[in-house]
């Protein structure tokens, strides 16, 4: 091969070396930036764990004296007015799983129909789901309060998961429709040719094909219900129906400057299932979350 004119072998080597050095510098710079930018998150989540298990932190970060005392809320009430923690946790489970079930039961057939069947209103349904998706649910809060009160569902977990399901349904339908679109028609044909009805084919042949979609939708709905804040604190005042969101909210109000250990411990208790879920499913979530509307 011909060497570019005016460059000897030595200078070429030197140039390559210089470039490698520059690249190493760039990599180091990028790492430094990423770590610096992520510091609030790293320290914030780290604090949650460290302060939960220690008596105090020096200079805000160095834990001193390990203890389990901050978790005393597990067996005694933090204040006179608090409801039973396990009941509250159970309510949170109900909210999350109720929403998951409803989403799966309702979004799946709807998405199937939109993806696979020919009917008159089809052309109208698709834009409708899109428009609903861009109409933010949180602006409907006041009217939803009215609806729930009329249905006698204020202060109930069922009211919150019905509302949440309604608002998330368009997104859920979109997600599932994407999965159904990916199932080859031939599979469905073969089922029909063998004499199964459309519904049997859906149940026995199509659904197993979209399992990853069902899993993604289930995880997403569960986490969404588990974390819900605004609808819970607005629609549920009755302490019997509190979820962990109201519980931690109340601990913040009562102990913010007095007992960070308790604050961190209750928050950690609340977020623990999310962290475990997240650890195993973040690859799914990275794909689904792009459809969400949260936090701007």
């Amino acid at each position: 091969m011909q060497r570019p004119r005016g460059l000897s072998g030595e200078t070429l080597l030197e140039a390559a070396r210089r470039q490698r050095r520059r690249e190493r510098l760039l990599t180091a710079g990028i790492y430094a930036f990423l770590i610096a930018a992520s510091l609030p998150l790293l320290l914030g989540y780290g604090w949650l764990v460290l302060n939960s298990f220690s008596e105090k932190l020096v200079y805000g970060v160095i834990p001193q004296k390990w203890t389990l005392n901050n978790f005393r809320f597990l067996w005694e009430l933090p204040g006179r007015y608090y409801p039973n923690l396990w009941r509250t946790t159970w309510n949170t489970v109900l909210l999350a799983s109720g929403m998951t079930l409803l989403m799966l039961l309702i979004a799946t057939p709807t998405a199937y129909v939109i993806s696979r069947m020919q009917f008159k209103a089809r052309g109208f349904l698709l834009p409708l789901t899109l428009i609903l998706h861009s109409f933010p649910g949180i602006t409907l809060l006041i009217a939803l309060y009215y609806v729930l009160r009329s249905l006698n569902l204020l202060n109930s977990i069922a009211g919150v998961f019905l509302v949440k399901t309604g608002l998330m349904l368009p997104l859920g339908i979109w997600i599932m429709k994407g999965f159904f679109d990916g199932v080859p028609w031939d599979l469905e044909m073969s089922g029909l040719v063998d004499g199964a009805s459309r519904l049997q084919t859906l149940w026995k042949i199509i659904l197993p094909q979209v399992k990853p979609g069902l899993a993604a939708l289930a995880i997403f709905s569960f986490l969404n219900g588990w974390s819900e804040y605004i609808f819970v604190i607005t629609f549920i005042q009755n302490k019997e129906s509190w979820t962990l969101a109201s519980y931690v909210n109340s601990v913040v109000g009562d102990f913010q400057f007095l007992d960070y250990g308790l604050l961190a411990a209750t928050a950690l208790f609340y977020i623990a299932p999310v962290l475990i879920f997240f650890l195993f499913t973040q690859k799914y979530l990275m794909r689904v979350s792009v459809g969400g509307t949260k936090g701007g």
């Binding site: 998150l41 057939p109 349904l169 913040v252 400057f257 928050a267 609340y270 979350s289 701007g296």
Partner: protein, 299 residues
């Protein structure tokens, strides 16, 4: 018939908890409804009050600063920088490390809002028990009351740290899907990383950048959850954005105002804002062509 039965549950839920509330919001804005929920039509009274409300001017500019500040600094710029950095790391260095950082930045999006709030309340604590003031204390500096001195910066940063992940994920997958031949060709010509980003990556990300800007303008207009937790809109309405103002008119404060009529009128104006914003985005940026694209790409 069978089709109708399959669609029925979805239709019922959407009508009851989406369409009806939407119509109700419009209707309620013409009443002077309060906590007793009596329908007492008052004509345009609430909309007249909008014009007289002296706080609204401040609320409006708060909203502009919050929405566009967060959008430009974090959701677009910072999301892009994060995507570039993590893409660089997974190409040149380690897929695992890149995944770790992306997951770390995605985590706030799945953290219960009140827990995320607790974390920031600690970071910003006005005494030396908090992170920032703890560090200041180490250097012998007296503590700063972040939430009351820099409330706007606080709400932009806290929301931005969540919002950035949306752009990060979209941009990241777009960067990774750029065919490597472009970069090889540029590298042969002696282009460094920065000039490749500038001349190859950025032009190819144009649509994604616009999509994130448009989509998240609309989300930011209606996301007030974290502001409610951190500042409640204070001090002295300095962080009260439009949507939070409407919320506080209805449910806010220890005395719970329950001004449902006025609050829904505020909401209607907000919906009008979003509609105008989306029409502008659709027209100016011709979003229609790309709106469809990410919807498919998502799954």
């Amino acid at each position: 018939m069978c089709v109708f039965l399959l669609l029925l549950p979805a239709l019922l839920i959407i009508v009851a908890f989406y369409l009806v509330p939407g119509l109700l919001t419009g209707a309620m804005s013409f009443t002077d409804m309060n906590h007793r929920l009596v329908w007492n039509f008052a004509g345009w009274k609430n909309y007249g009050q909008l014009l007289k409300d002296t706080l609204l001017n401040r609320v409006f500019w708060n909203t502009v600063v919050y929405v566009f500040g967060t959008l430009l600094i974090f959701n677009v710029t910072f999301g892009l920088v994060l995507a570039l950095a993590t893409a660089y790391i997974s190409e040149r260095h380690s897929e695992q490390v890149s995944l770790f950082f992306r997951a770390l930045w995605l985590l706030p999006r799945f953290t219960p809002p009140i827990v995320y709030g607790v974390i920031w309340l600690w970071i910003l604590d006005p005494t030396r028990n908090g992170l920032l003031n703890g560090v200041l204390d180490y250097f012998g500096h007296s503590p700063v009351s972040w939430l009351s001195q820099f409330p706007r910066a606080v709400i932009i940063i806290t929301n931005g740290m969540i919002g950035a992940s949306f752009g990060m994920i979209l941009f990241y997958s777009a960067i990774r899907s750029i065919s490597p031949e472009y970069n090889w060709a540029a590298a042969v010509d002696g282009a460094g990383w920065l000039s490749r980003v500038r001349h190859i990556t950025l032009p190819l990300l144009r649509w994604q950048l616009l999509f994130v800007a448009a989509y998240q303008t609309l989300s930011l207009l209606t996301s007030y959850e974290y502001i409610l937790i951190l500042t409640g809109g204070g001090p002295f309405y300095r962080t009260t954005v439009w949507s939070l103002y409407a919320y506080n008119q209805a449910f806010g404060g220890y005395y719970a105002a329950y001004n449902f009529g006025y609050a829904t009128a505020l909401t209607m104006v907000l919906v009008l804002f979003s509609l105008i914003a989306s029409i502008i985005y659709w027209r100016v940026f011709r979003l229609r062509e790309m709106m469809a694209e990410p919807k498919i790409e998502v799954m």
